[in-house]
C-alpha cells in the first residue's frame, strides 16, 4: 500500500502476533481496513480468523492465557493502550457472533441495552435508534408490532438480524462479523448480505466467513488466512480470479479446507 492510503486507513494492524498459553495462533499479521469498505476474511478452520476479530475489540482479553505483540490502531490510536476505554472501544467496534445470542428479554430491551449502558436515556432517541437499526437490519417490518415480545420467540434468522440490529443501535464505526450466516437459511442470509452492502455507507465491515461464495458476493477486498498467517489480501475480484498465491487458489477452488 502507498503512504497516503495508509493515513486514511480506519484500522491498521501492525506485526500482530497472538499467543494462547504460549502457542502462536496468529503470526506477524499486517492488514489495513479502510473506511466504508467490506473486507472478507476467508480460510480453513483454525486459521486464526476468529481470533483476529476478537483481537480488534479486545474480547480475547477475557481469556487468561491470551498474550499478544504488535499493534492495532483504530483511527491511529492503539486499542491496547492502557488508557483505552474498553466499553467504548467495544461500542465503536460492534461484533456479531456465529450463533445468534439475543439476551433473554424482549426485542426492544435487547436493542436499547447497549445504548442505555452508553448513557443514552432519552426515550425518543432510544425509539429512533431501535427503528433505524431494525430497518438497517431488514427486520423492522417483521417486528414493528411485537417489539415488546421475548426475543427468543423470533426464528433463528430473525434472531441473527436482531443481533445485528442490536450492534447497529450503538452506531459503531467498524462492524465485526464472525460467520454471521453459518446457521441461517438462504433467505435470511440474503437479507443480511443486503443489509451489509447498504451499511458500508456509514461504516467499515470485516466479515469472517467459511462461505467463499459469500465473500465473493459481498466484499470489496478479500484476505486469505492460513494457519495463523495472512497469505494474501487484495480486491475480491482479483483474489477469486487470479490470486497471487497458489494456496489461495487451491482453497478457493475447493482443493482443501
Amino acid at each position: 500500500m502507498t503512504e497516503p492510503a495508509e493515513i486514511r486507513a480506519k484500522v491498521q494492524v501492525r506485526d500482530l502476533t497472538v499467543r494462547f498459553a504460549g502457542k502462536e495462533t496468529l503470526r506477524n499479521l499486517n492488514l489495513d481496513i479502510y473506511p466504508n469498505e467490506r473486507l472478507a476474511i476467508i480460510g480453513p478452520a483454525s486459521s486464526g480468523k476468529t481470533t483476529f476479530l476478537r483481537c480488534l475489540n479486545r474480547l480475547n482479553d477475557l481469556q487468561h492465557t491470551f498474550s499478544h505483540t504488535g499493534r492495532i490502531l483504530l483511527d491511529g490510536k492503539d486499542v491496547y493502550d492502557p488508557d483505552v476505554d474498553l466499553a467504548g472501544l467495544r461500542r465503536r467496534m460492534g461484533m456479531v457472533y456465529a450463533v445468534p445470542e439475543p439476551l433473554p428479554w424482549t426485542i426492544y430491551e435487547n436493542l436499547v441495552f447497549g445504548p442505555r449502558l452508553a448513557g443514552f436515556r432519552d426515550k425518543d432517541d432510544l425509539d429512533e435508534r431501535v427503528e433505524r437499526s431494525l430497518k438497517s437490519a431488514y427486520l423492522w417490518e417483521e417486528t414493528k408490532d411485537r417489539l415488546h415480545q421475548p426475543a427468543h420467540n423470533l426464528s433463528g434468522g430473525q434472531q441473527q438480524r436482531l443481533c445485528l440490529a442490536r450492534v447497529l443501535a450503538l452506531k459503531p464505526e467498524v462492524l465485526l462479523l464472525d460467520e454471521p450466516c453459518s446457521g441461517l437459511d438462504p433467505i435470511s442470509t440474503a437479507k443480511i448480505e443486503d443489509a451489509l452492502v447498504e451499511l458500508t455507507e456509514s461504516l467499515s465491515i470485516i466479515l469472517v466467513t467459511n462461505n467463499t461464495k459469500q465473500a465473493s458476493r459481498v466484499s470489496d477486498r478479500t484476505a486469505f488466512f492460513l494457519m495463523g498467517e495472512l497469505i494474501e489480501v487484495g480486491p475480491t475480484q482479483q483474489i477469486f480470479t487470479k490470486p497471487n498465491h497458489e494456496r489461495t487458489d487451491a482453497y478457493i477452488t475447493g482443493q482443501f479446507g
Binding site: A87, G94, Y97, E101, P104, F113, A118, H152, V167
Partner: protein, 286 residues
C-alpha cells in the same frame, strides 16, 4: 440371571424401607402432635406466647417468632456473603483461585454444628456482649453462626445457577459495551434469579432446622424478641431442650412443635424445588 433378580429385589427393598421410614416418621409425629393442637385450639397453640407445660399452657408463638427472627437475619448474612462469593468465584476471580476456594467453602458444610455453636459461644457472644450490650446470647449471635453455616448451600447452588446461564449471554453483553460487573448484575443475575432464589430458600430450610448451634448461642428464653440483641428460643431448641424430661401432654406439645417445624420446612423445600425447576426450564428454552 437369577442372581440379578435377587439383587434387584434386595435393592428395591432397601429403597422402599428408606422411603417408608420417611412416611412412618411423618405419620408418627402427626399422630403424636396433632391431638394437642386440636385440644388447645390452633389459635391458642400458634398465637399465644404462654408456654408453661406444668400448668398446661402450650403457646408456641414466642418460638415461632424466635425461629423467624433468627432465620431472617441469618439469611440476610448468608445471602450477602454466599451470593457475593458465588459471583466472585464464578465471574471474577481467575479459574485457578476458584478451584481452590470453592472446595474450601464446601468444606464448611462438613464441620459439625456443635463446633459452630462452640466457636459462637467462645468468640461471637462475648464480642456482642462487650461491644453491643445485652446478654450476648442473642438473635444476632445465632444469625451470624447460622449465616456462616448456610454459606456452602447458598454459594454452591447459586454458582450452579450462574453457570447454567448460557455463556453467549455473557459474551453478547460484553461485546455491546457492558463492563463485567454490568454484565453480571444486569444479565447473569437476572437470568439466574430463580436458581438463586432456590439457593436462598434451601439455605433458609437449613437455618430453620438447625438446632445444636442455635441452642448454644441463642439464650433460649421464652419471650418474643424486640431487637436483634434479645435472647430467643427457636422451635428446634424447644424440642431438644425439653424432650428429655417431658411426658404426657407436654410431650405431645413438643411433637406439635415438631409438626409446625416439619410443615414450615416442607413448604420451603417445595418452593425451592419448584423455583429450581422453573429456572432449569428457562435455561433450556434457549
Amino acid at each position: 440371571m437369577k442372581q440379578d433378580k435377587l439383587i434387584a429385589l434386595a435393592l428395591l427393598m432397601v429403597a422402599f424401607s428408606a422411603v417408608s421410614g420417611l412416611a412412618l416418621i411423618t405419620v408418627f409425629i402427626f399422630k403424636e402432635g396433632l391431638p394437642i393442637i386440636v385440644k388447645t385450639g390452633p389459635g391458642n397453640f400458634f398465637l399465644s406466647s404462654d408456654w408453661d407445660p406444668s400448668s398446661g399452657n402450650f403457646g408456641i408463638f414466642s418460638m415461632i417468632a424466635g425461629s423467624l427472627a433468627v432465620t431472617v437475619c441469618a439469611m440476610v448474612i448468608g445471602t450477602v456473603f454466599g451470593l457475593g462469593l458465588a459471583i466472585v468465584l464464578g465471574e471474577f476471580c481467575p479459574p485457578g483461585l476458584a478451584a481452590i476456594l470453592k472446595p474450601v467453602v464446601e468444606l464448611l458444610a462438613g464441620i459439625p454444628s456443635v463446633v459452630y455453636g462452640f466457636v459462637g459461644v467462645v468468640t461471637i457472644v462475648p464480642l456482642i456482649r462487650t461491644y453491643l450490650g445485652g446478654p450476648g446470647l442473642s438473635v444476632l449471635a445465632s444469625s451470624i453462626v447460622l449465616g456462616i453455616m448456610v454459606l456452602p448451600t447458598v454459594t454452591s447452588i447459586s454458582m450452579d445457577a450462574l453457570r447454567a446461564v448460557p455463556r453467549s449471554y455473557w459474551q453478547g453483553s460484553i461485546a455491546l459495551g457492558a463492563t463485567k460487573w454490568q454484565t453480571t448484575h444486569m444479565v447473569m443475575l437476572k437470568a439466574a434469579k430463580s436458581g438463586i432464589a432456590a439457593a436462598i430458600i434451601l439455605g433458609m430450610g437449613r437455618a430453620v432446622g438447625e438446632t445444636m448451634a442455635v441452642i448454644m448461642v441463642a439464650g433460649n428464653t421464652l419471650e418474643v424478641p424486640h431487637g436483634i440483641l434479645d435472647p430467643v428460643r427457636t422451635l428446634t431448641s424447644n424440642i431438644a431442650l425439653e424432650m428429655g424430661y417431658a411426658s404426657g401432654q407436654h410431650r405431645e406439645a413438643l411433637f406439635a412443635t415438631g409438626v409446625t417445624l416439619f410443615v414450615i420446612i416442607m413448604i420451603l423445600n417445595t418452593v425451592a424445588l419448584v423455583m429450581a425447576r422453573r429456572g432449569a426450564g428457562e435455561g433450556r428454552t434457549r
